[in-house]
Amino acid sequence: MSHPHDSSFRARLLAGLPDAWEDFVDANAAALLSTARALTNSRVNAEDAVQQTFLNLFRARDSFARAERPRAYAFRVLHRVAGLMRARRAHLEALDEHRAPCAGHDETAEPDSELERALATLSHEQREVVALKIDGELTFAEIAALLAIPADTAASRYRRALERLRERLGGSP
């Protein structure tokens, strides 16, 4: 997260100054978007989730700007937003099993690289941990708090994900 310990930047975020929020969006949108793609498995939903995350952060800027780890706070918000989107989508699909997939429901979009294809084969829980660790740069303690699991579980889930990637990649990432 840009300037995580810079008190003047936090003060500008807290005041809702447009240039501070523009800087903040520029510095963090890519990491949030990469993670959102892993969490939603959809490019369009990922963009919606990122937009909603920034909006929620802006509304809760009093807590956000005072958070000990603003980066972890932002990813926690993203995780919640993505979870709500997944739940809403599952609910809609359950209502009408026969309807065509909604716009943005593009799980079939072809990944760009062998590594991305391998990532796509991971379970949701594994992809989630990898995204939060690699793209979000969160610690296992932060991931554990976010997912409400023990830190050891987060670490072992991450290691199993990497083992599976190694298998898929035939030992050469």
Partner: protein, 132 residues
């Protein structure tokens, strides 16, 4: 069952994951974000303006109601018993604490009596505010 990763494989995979191209937010997404933040900011400013305007109107209404109250309106002796806060303030201002208690009772009546019917309270008994 996967074979466990050794540390060098683990580090190599982590480096490969960290080095892979990230999703780049499109210009359209940045505009959408910027637009939603601006709209939210404008909504907050409007809400603050209305909140301040309503507070000012309420103050003016209360003040007008108080000024219009009969100067010698009946206030019982029990109601005129000053609260501790009133006694402290009166001591600081060097005035009779019952003056403050009287203002409190009249202001509360002016404010709350019109609301009594809506709240299901008999309006023939003016409300008082026993401060605490």
């Amino acid at each position: 069952m996967s074979t466990p990763l050794d540390e060098s494989e683990f580090a190599r995979l982590e480096r490969a994951l960290a080095a892979r191209p990230r999703a780049t937010p499109s210009r359209e997404l940045r505009l959408r974000i910027s637009s939603s933040l601006n709209a939210e900011s404008a909504r907050e400013r409007r809400a603050q303006w209305w909140s301040a305007a309503i507070a000012a109107l309420a103050f003016l209404a209360l003040n007008a109601a108080f000024e219009a109250a009969p100067a010698r309106a009946s206030v019982s002796a029990g109601e005129l018993e000053p609260t501790r806060a009133e006694a402290r303030l009166a001591a600081e201002l060097d005035i009779d604490p019952r003056q403050l208690a009287r203002r409190r009772v009249l202001a509360a009546r002016a404010l709350l009596t019109p609301l009594a019917p809506a709240l299901g309270v008999q309006s023939t008994t003016p409300w008082t505010a026993r401060g605490s």
